[in-house]
Assembly symmetry: C2
Homo-oligomer: 711 residues x 2
């Protein structure tokens, strides 16, 4: 009971006692006790007899002790006092406690608080670990006798049919295995080709109960492409950028087929799918659809340059792995005896063709790796021989970004001795050198060459085969050679209305307003009993038309802000009305100002989200529409707004620094920007799992450096 906090003994020198009145002393002692944060005490009286053995009798004593209860006998107080703290009251005041004790106590207190904090910390961490293990123990499953699973006969033995007499996948193995899947199997079939940004955004936004969803893709994972350059040198692990598509699909009772779509039979609403078997043969079958979304992405653009078989690309995990292997193989070869100085330099020369974000970030990551990790494990000489080059056909790297950003990146790379070659056009790639022509200061092209150990080709994207095939199916409607054209509802032009959609890199939204001029004018002309060509539009009518255009082509919004100015500007004959030719000129002018959407993850993501939400809404509206007997109409337009792209900004990593371009507001900076850059991607990461893995990777890099084993 005699805890330190409950009790203390004051030794008061007789001279002080004489000078002060007892009540005052008692009060002071109480206040003193407070300042020591001692617990409540009750000032009582002098009781020399019970504690005499602890105190020298030459000093008059005053005891302040807490009575635990009113009946505590004096013999219990004595040992309590023995353990109590002792204060000495001298002529200089009560403040001086027994010095040695005081110092000890301070040390003790420091120690006490430090150990309290450390103890709490350790306890927290241990508790977390213990909690994890307790949870973990529940994740191991003993075998419950494998339960019977209902399987539809059609899934085991599919019907043969379609133009090529192939099995038709009407029913899936797991369609009847649980209630939720049984319900969804009666819903319209939504088939998504691809497993990239667009597909995953769609999957995450569509209501799983409204459709029977199937994803067809040869790539069984979603890849977080913006961080792929970091994976090439071991800053991040491949796994942290990847989410198995089956995991995503499982959350919405969907299905996944690891195969590639080869051809689409739009009339029969069948997708011809092919899967290579291990013995080299190919199994083909049909997957039926009610709604089809093409989100197959793109492939690297060769720009017709020869020798790209010597180059590396950077679009898939496999590409990143090949780069990683090559980087480390080159390092090892450079260490071998018999490798000449020239050869060594060539092996350690890294050439990046293309100054876009991918190329720039790869160069930056590579450079950081050489700078931060190479010397720890490889001979220092190699560090001096390494060179990184960026060959850019434009005048700047990152030329789609704000100029300020582009300049910052140049400056940064100059400091980092990354060699940026602008206005340089690659002519061909040989086995060990890149041949390119570069304009000199006078604008005259000079042929140059760069020996390389690794050459990355990242100069933009082009169509995949299936995309070409789809576009070619509708020669009447599809005119763009670079992508599948869709309307602003993302429906593939030419395909049956509301059945086929295209999103992401493989598609582009056609925004040719001029094409629709007859539609806009028809009703007005009819009312005025004249032909469209002869109709004169008043300002009021032009405003209505402009509103109509804005609704149907949201991308045109910013070019239609000043309808009055436009009207005056294009009213060439100052008649106060616009003739047909004048209106055509006006609309063409707007068309020319509208740029096509960028081939970025951001766009694909937004399009996927848009479709996901629209599909959910469409399913909801189906019943109402049926009641209202609205069929064979433009249901999409009735139910949901057209797609509009909101550019949220671009960002890039430029070697222990990062650049941001938020709709014209640019931000450039060092390490803080890098952490911000990471945060943005961390937040956008596809699942909690990948976020946890990303964090672990950063932890690993921080603690142990980058990984130097290409596995």
């Amino acid at each position: 009971m005699a805890s330190r906090a409950a009790l203390f003994v004051a030794r008061v020198q007789p001279s002080i006692l004489a000078r002060q009145t007892r009540p005052l002393l008692v009060k002071s002692l109480a206040s003193r006790a407070l300042s020591y944060r001692l617990a409540p005490l009750c000032v009582d009286s002098t009781r020399p007899q019970s504690v005499s053995k602890f105190i020298r009798p030459s000093i008059a004593q005053l005891y302040c002790c807490r009575f635990v209860s009113t009946s505590t006998p004096p013999e219990q107080i004595a040992p309590a006092v023995a353990k109590a703290e002792k204060l000495e009251i001298t002529t200089s005041g009560i403040s001086s406690a027994v010095p040695s004790n005081s110092f000890k106590r301070r040390i003790y207190r420091l120690f006490y608080y430090v150990s309290l904090i450390v103890g709490f910390g350790v306890t927290t961490v241990c508790t977390l670990v213990a909690a994890f293990f307790m949870y973990d123990a529940t994740t191991y499953k003993e075998l419950d006798d494998a339960e019977d699973v209902e399987v539809a006969l059609l899934a085991l033995d599919p019907v043969i049919g379609g133009p090529k007499n192939l099995p038709i996948l009407e029913s899936y193995l797991d369609d009847e295995e649980c209630e939720a899947k049984k319900i969804s199997s009666s819903k319209p079939r939504l088939v998504i080709l691809g497993s990239g940004w667009g597909a995953v955004a769609l999957l995450k936004n569509v209501n799983p109960n409204d459709y029977h969803i199937t994803v067809i893709s040869p790539r069984n994972h979603f890849l977080f492409t913006p961080m792929l350059p970091s994976a090439t040198v071991g800053t991040l692990e491949f796994r942290s950028l990847v989410e198995p598509i089956r995991r995503i699909v499982a959350t919405i009772n969907g299905h996944y087929i690891e195969a590639s779509a080869e051809k689409i039979e739009f009339n029969d609403r069948l997708i011809e799918v092919k899967q290579g078997l291990p013995d080299g043969s190919i199994r083909a079958f049909y997957v039926p659809y009610d709604k089809l979304v093409v989100a197959v992405g793109s492939q690297s653009n060769t720009h017709g340059v020869d020798g790209l078989e010597h180059c590396n690309f950077l679009k898939t995990i496999e590409d990143a792995r090949l780069i990683r292997e090559k980087v480390f193989r080159n390092l090892e070869l450079a260490c071998l005896p018999g490798t000449s100085e020239e050869e060594r330099k060539r092996l350690l020369s890294f050439v990046v063709c293309g100054g876009g974000p991918t190329g720039v970030e790869f160069a930056a990551e590579l450079y950081d790796f050489f700078n931060e990790d190479l010397c720890n494990t490889y001979p220092k000489l190699l560090r001096n021989l390494v060179s990184v080059h960026i060959v850019q056909s434009q005048g700047h790297i990152l030329n789609t970004y704000d100029e300020k950003i582009s300049e910052y990146a140049h400056e940064r790379f100059k400091n980092d001795s990354i060699d940026v070659l602008t206005n340089a056009r690659v002519k061909c790639v040989e086995a060990d050198r890149v041949i390119f022509s570069q304009k000199n200061a006078e604008g005259v092209a000079e042929n140059k060459e760069l020996p390389y150990g690794l050459c990355l080709w990242s100069t933009g994207v082009t169509l995949c085969d299936i995309t070409k095939d789809i576009a070619a199916s509708f020669p009447q409607s599809q005119h763009n050679r670079r992508a599948i054209e869709t309307d602003t509802h993302l429906r593939v032009l030419g395909a049956p209305l509301g059945e086929v959609y295209a999103i992401g890199d493989c598609s582009t939204v056609r925004t040719n307003i001029t094409e629709h001029i007859f539609e806009f004018l028809k009703t007005y002309a009819m009312k005025a009993n004249t032909t469209v060509e002869k109709f004169e539009i008043t300002f009021q009518q032009w405003r209505d038309i402009a509103t109509n255009i804005k609704r149907r082509f949201p991308q045109a919004n910013e070019h239609l802000r000043r309808v009055d100015t436009l009207f005056t500007e294009f009213d060439e004959d100052h008649s106060g009305t616009l003739g047909f030719s004048e209106l055509t000129a006006l609309l063409k002018n707007i068309d020319s100002k509208m740029t096509s959407l960028p081939a970025t993850a951001q766009r694909a993501n937004q399009q996927g989200q848009y479709l996901g939400r629209k599909f959910t809404k469409l399913a909801r509206a189906q019943e109402t529409l049926a009641m209202d007997e609205i069929v064979n109409k433009d249901v999409d337009d009735l139910v949901y707004k057209p797609f509009v792209y909101h550019h949220l900004g671009s960002l890039a990593y430029v070697g222990n620094a990062a650049v941001f371009d938020f709709n014209g507001y640019s931000l450039v900076g060092g390490l803080v920007a890098v952490y911000l850059w990471r945060s943005v991607y961390f937040a956008q990461s596809v699942s909690f799992r990948t976020r946890a893995l990303l964090f672990m990777d950063w932890l690993t890099r921080g603690l142990f450096g980058r990984d130097i084993t290409p596995l």
Copy 2:
């Protein structure tokens, strides 16, 4: 100053006040304050005027308040009292505080402590994360202008020489880049072939300042082989089992060459090393050595069975990756339409040939994966079609373990419906089925077959090419066809003394005591002036010889415990002495009892440690030996004890359970044993880095399940 802990107000009913004397009430209130853990207070006096507005005037009041200082004016006390806690003293005693307040207070207190604990926890975690980021920020390096590095001319332009006129790697690129490396480059050259358990144990135990160390291995990483089966189904990541050999070598100022040793020129002390170049050509060169350690390991044993090209193996990361890919490819193929029921069953039939730890653990991991993770993402039907088979030629699986363990594993697998086929000998492996003969209950062999989707071949190990070549170099001394024979000092028999060592799977320690009988008897016979064959050994002499044997062949220790019994037993003519033939019989008997060392990580590790320590000691002793003019003697024997293998036990994972065999003490059990099994390997892991990664993997598996994307 009016903190809750410092002050309270008691409202005493007039009736109570009348019944009790004021001093007693004051004392009781003080005690009451204590029980509420309130801070020190000084009982003063009633002061109704200062607090009257807070208390109903119908109740007589008694105020207990702490005076912050003796000079606190009453007007400061009033607000303090307002915030103070209020106690109500009723006829039932002081214990009842104002009820509503009391309940609120209890809630408040609970909330307070919970938030205190949570707050501390969150603070700790946040502090750790913040601390990490602060540390992390220091790990990014801005370019310091690449410094000049000294390089020896010999490293850039090596001398040509040796039997085949190849470049000789006398000096390395990084030999002169720092003081430590400069010093070590003048030391004896220690070259280690291989990067497995033996090599790494040696590297970790040798003193880096005593040798110029080079590791030559085509595999650039150390692989933690015992956990490899866990990596096949994503329980662990490949990376967590791997430590880059360059990282280990860097810590001891050593060198690493990623190439394979093809041939050893023992006379010139040169190793012929070959490295395949990307263009398909091969670069060959010599690496000189003063001491050579062969630790190249082994390869899978085919046992002459045909068709193993269809099988998977499990010795490297690449093997594990191939298995992982095949498992998931088979699952995907099984989902496709047009796959027949029979084909589906075949694809999901996993056959493991070999019932050793690797095979058993692989089967267990595979089974766990199917049981715990498959149904989350694949159709449940597949789970019912999966089958796992172990084909074991012996009567038990895990037959090198204690019988109890073997039985437990059988029982476990029976529960888990893993099909264990004992006494079954594989005859050949076809593209889709394993043909084997199994003895039935009558002991008659029956031919059977098992269709498979994946067949793992793990039936023991055999020699690599370089090992065969080394053994063949000393036809006089090397007689074992299964490994390089060494003496008990791990020196390769036949090679120049003290120059070539062999450890790990590729080697065996020859313990043929009988062979040395002449040596043992020579001195005795000479003393007795007779020939060895005719010499009769007394018991005393036999004891001396036994001691000598024990010293030179420590593995014979346990068979030489009862020297007297042995003497009596083999003294067939009861002459009291042993003749030459009797001694030969005795030694042969001991030889027959000694088993060869197991081909395990444990043995390789111990041999590596042994050599590391011995080499350090040898380097230290060199000077002394030179002074004593001891040259061309058995220096190893003079300086260090012979190698002795201590079996520490075996362990294996058998599917959410683990078995341990500690020198006869066996331990089997469920989840707790699994955690123990993990702890053992966690502790034995090669670096802090791999430990951290292992822990993260377990965390990931616990939180998100196994990884289902083979990358």
